[in-house]
Symmetry: D2
Subunit: 380 residues, 4 copies
């Protein structure tokens, strides 16, 4: 039985809505059964029909969707809500869904700010329902393998982490010419108090903590507004201390002309360093001290269990972004089934803990930058 | 409305069956409604059930499947058959399907030998139904862009083509230890008269003709049996003349230890050369004479229409093998809808022409190698 | 006529002494005529003899060398002194040489601290002699081309600079086991007040200013002592503002296990970004907004005059570190000849200005790090 | 004491003459003492003077040079002759030099044809003097390491060799516009019976035999004349059998537009494959079956003795073409000193054996291509 999901946001012309639907479809584990795809009822319905939904389940708004779906028989109504709206709508949608008994799988950042995320966490705790967060980059096979190598001690004690997320698409003021993706991201009312760190820096932060198994304990952020007229950051750098005393630097930028979606993680330990880049995701470097560097590859026989679980095809057949995204969906499907049957899931998608740490990261970076000094990472 | 398809072969533990299903699922255009997944009725049914099919549409064999499906109401029965068996079963399955009114989408090589393929072409012609062939490598966005660049004259007259398909997985006699994928490929009774050229060389041939827009007019093949005890080639090289008098070399190998799935196409013209590698499929090099080389990338604004049509996500989000495979499925879905409505499809999956040329390639290489001399490429 | 040079430091087992001699030899413009190769007279003489010098010109110490050489006939005595000692000896050697009428070509950093460098600058000014500083990385052909591209306006206004110099060789306390190179670099009495920034960060700083044509106006340094027991930094990060208001980040590390000598410069402008890496020095990326990236290559016909001047062999024949180093020597040879003849030299090696800015950089980073705040870049 | 050498050919504007002089200079082991740099006496003298030679040792022709030098005192006259003329002059120059008691270091191919080379070998044998051949590509550190890995058995039995030497510079008829380098290479009277195979294919052949430690036993060549009007090949492919029954393919081309100097060697054994590319010469891949690929790098602590001997600077400081070329010179210097002292040299430059096999390769490829069939490799 496929898992039935409804979607909030992500209508026609949405980049990320389409990615979510492809990710859900890839493994045949999900079925889209309803949606409230746009803030406008007519556009929402149009999107639903074009996606093959019936008119009655192409809802005018997400409140109606949640209420109506809750009235359907258990074997027909949606089981989880996928949230792909701008940031300011994440909490209202998630809250309503959880309160009506639906699991939630949300795009990042989790909420508009940290206070909202704490409220969300409380609702998740109370309802006992599942909350997943789509940080797809941790779901690449070679990121999983990187985490395995760190956990196996192949690096020894971690000393230094350098993580980057570099883009160039906002190097000119696209928002002034009505570019939809740009417009809401640079708008404090919809994006929150950060553009660059909230949109992409948080992925880099999540990636660093996931692979290293460490946690940031204090940080100092520096935020730049390179393109004239912007209220929010479009570039920045964050210095970090980790809970084993390792040091770290996080670079995030949306104004680095010519860069596509350049995520890179380097972790240096006492025994070896590792290096992974999202734009060649099926390769992972391990560079031991005074030995030849080793290249780990997706789909090979020598990688660990976690990497295998996240892989679909044999070595040499590239797996990409949609496959990584689909791994989040696949893990979350397993969680839903396990939740229903009372078992433990095999894999866990990023969840409320990652949501809280991500929002704490964004907020602390912004505070730190405005004070120009180090701040402790809040307990969440 | 999704297109309903049935599958022949491709049961549990099949690599390529799973790839086909994911490719069909990705864009939400297809629905698997039935299958005859294995030569053994019990295993076939088991596969069908595990894929969520009902027992009655998890058929014991493909003859039953085709006959039973033909009896179902038009809006329920499958519309096309996907064939993912070993090569010797391709023609019988395709023939039966076409004769019962079903379109066919087949794995390559099209048939057991060229004579079979000619018979198949005749049936396709007579029935007026659609035949598609899954050469997924031509469906990568940057392969489409490569073809566009050649067609635009960016290379000038093509002088030389070097195409390679290099693997290492058969560098030891896996077939002796019961490896299923290896066993049938090295068996003349199931694979036909070639292992390496039939399994992978034909992809390289197809890629070279597709991108260059040229046709091979004569060739000389040299086939090696590197691993002791094999009856069929596991390595080889083919010299080719093209119909504009360009020269070409095709390298194919399954015994090149350490290589994964290393497909590379280089085309050299009077004005520029191009270079594409499957293991980094989102990059395409154009190297003009005495100017900086240019790197074309998937998902960018500057690529042509064909590349765009084959792309799902923005630049910097890698697209992989399954996406390329899904592009074949998406094109074929368009063909099926266009066939039904009497329109022209937007894109064409490789079809019976590519099937015939592919089988002619394999057969001519084998003949040429046994005679140790040049042979004309047969008219097909 | 070859230029006659003497060497201070750089005896047997010295890495950098050997590099200097090879760089001097490559183009046939220099002849080593004397040296004081070690702090110990016996070892110095031994080195001189093994390098083919006579015993009388294998001096016991550099004071003797300078004094004795000054007594030789003009057509026999050395014309310039090459200084390759640990940092604390740079000024004494340079001062003595200049005061005795010899040009100086010195390894970096120029002096022990900024005050010393100001004193040096004064001596250079007064004597009217030539002072060169071996920042070899700016002398790679593609770094020259990068500067040309910026100067030509191919990037438009520069917005962001990211420069890195990452090594791993000090990731363990080599200095505790008598490793000569490590020992003096981590010793404040010989290296000055910085290890990592003084040894390699200053190269990255020089590279960023050279290529961008911009100057740092303020900075904030953060220095880490990762390996226990060290008094000086072995890792750090510097935020920078440039005089056109561009932002920059400089990463330097000697504890990044597995890294060799990983220098990388990325400059992002409003129209394009550029990217160069020292470990593949013959390639330079220019990535324009919304066009294919362009790869500039050493030895091609399409590069500018400066790149050509720094190139020896045709495209595809890799030029390396010694060639870059030799370009500094070649430029300085031209300066010496031009000085003698009263003409203008064709090329200028990095000189006293770069010396001052480099020492100011090191000192300001150290001060800034100890105060944990931004500091203006001193006027020099 | 430096080794005194004279040069035949390689005057001003000669690419390869300049490379030889830089290679000789780099390590301070050689001193240029005389030359006959051009076929024209005036130009020869001009070149000599501009290189700092005296007028009397800037000879009008090589016959005069050899005769006059032989009359000089033993501690003044040249010790070896470096030959960098077009191919048809190699034998006369080498013969005269050897007969007058001078060692010879010659550019490749050794002679005009195989018969000449056999004659040369006989003279070398009779005189007991040294003969070296500048195949610089085998003198890269990572090529030496590749040979070491094969010899250590890291690949197991070698099954397949693919070697390429691909250039694009002759993709248009440069020879028609007076391009000096192009003109003699396409001229049968000066180049011999092959352009592409004689100029670059022979390097690829030498590289394959050197690294594998195997010898070609039979081959079939196919030669193309892509650019209209050429009498000699500008492109070709050679199939080879080796003396352990391994198979090989050699691709050589000078008309592959956009390619610089793209030499690549892949060797596949039963246990691992290796891969080296000249344009990134400091990296060497070893790809074991079912384990992560390993990247060997120049200048590291873990490489073997041979690679170390051929290395000058620590890892991460790229070594290039001139350094490789200089390694040939350094080895030959050691041979000259060992010859004088009666010891064994530490390293051997390629010599008369490589000369014979290279000429046999060229001649057999040409014969084979004209007969369109396999030929045994001649005993030499």
């Amino acid at each position: 039985m496929k898992i039935r999901y409804g979607m909030v946001g992500g209508g026609e012309n949405s980049f990320i809505g389409s990615v979510h639907r492809q990710a859900a479809a890839l493994d045949g584990e999900y079925e889209l059964v309803c949606g409230a795809f746009a803030s406008d009822a007519v556009r929402s319905q149009h999107s639903g029909l074009s996606l093959g939904l019936s008119a009655e389940r192409s809802y005018a708004d997400f409140t109606t969707m949640v209420q109506q779906e809750a009235l359907l028989p258990a074997d027909q109504r949606m089981q989880c809500v996928v949230i792909v709206t701008p940031n300011h709508l994440h909490l209202p949608a998630a809250k309503l869904a959880l309160q009506h008994g639906f699991h939630v799988l949300s795009d990042k950042p989790a909420t508009f700010d940290l206070a909202e995320c704490r409220a969300l966490a409380e609702i998740v705790r109370k309802t006992g329902l599942l909350y997943g967060l789509t940080h797809p980059y941790v779901a690449y096979p070679m990121v999983q393998q990187a985490r395995t190598l760190v956990a196996q001690g192949r690096l020894g004690t971690v000393h230094k982490i350098v993580v980057e997320y570099i883009q160039g698409w906002l190097s000119s003021p696209l928002e002034n010419s009505g570019h939809k993706q740009a417009s809401w991201r640079v708008d404090p009312a919809r994006a929150g108090n950060s553009c660059c760190m909230g949109d992409i820096g948080v992925h880099a932060f999540n990636l660093a903590e996931f692979v290293s198994g460490l946690e940031v304990t204090q940080l100092r952020g520096e935020l730049n507004r390179i393109v004239a007229g912007r209220q929010l950051d479009d570039d920045g750098v964050v210095s970090m201390h980790f809970n084993n005393n390792a040091r770290g630097v996080l670079l995030a930028s949306q104004i680095s002309t010519g860069e596509e979606n350049n995520i890179r993680l380097r972790i240096y330990g006492e025994k070896a360093g590792l290096d992974w880049q999202q734009m060649e995701p099926n390769s992972l470097w391990l560079r031991p001290n005074n030995q030849p560097a080793e290249l780990f590859r997706t789909g090979t026989a020598y990688v660990g269990e976690a990497a295998r679980w996240h892989t679909r095809v044999p070595a040499g057949h590239p797996e990409g972004y949609i496959e990584a995204f689909a791994n989040i969906y696949r893990a979350f499907a397993g969680q839903i089934r396990a939740h229903a049957s009372g078992h433990n899931p095999v894999q866990q998608a990023p969840g409320i803990k990652e949501a809280l740490r991500g929002m704490a990261f964004i907020e602390t970076v912004v505070d730190s930058a405005s004070r120009d000094g180090w701040l402790p990472f809040p307990a969440v």
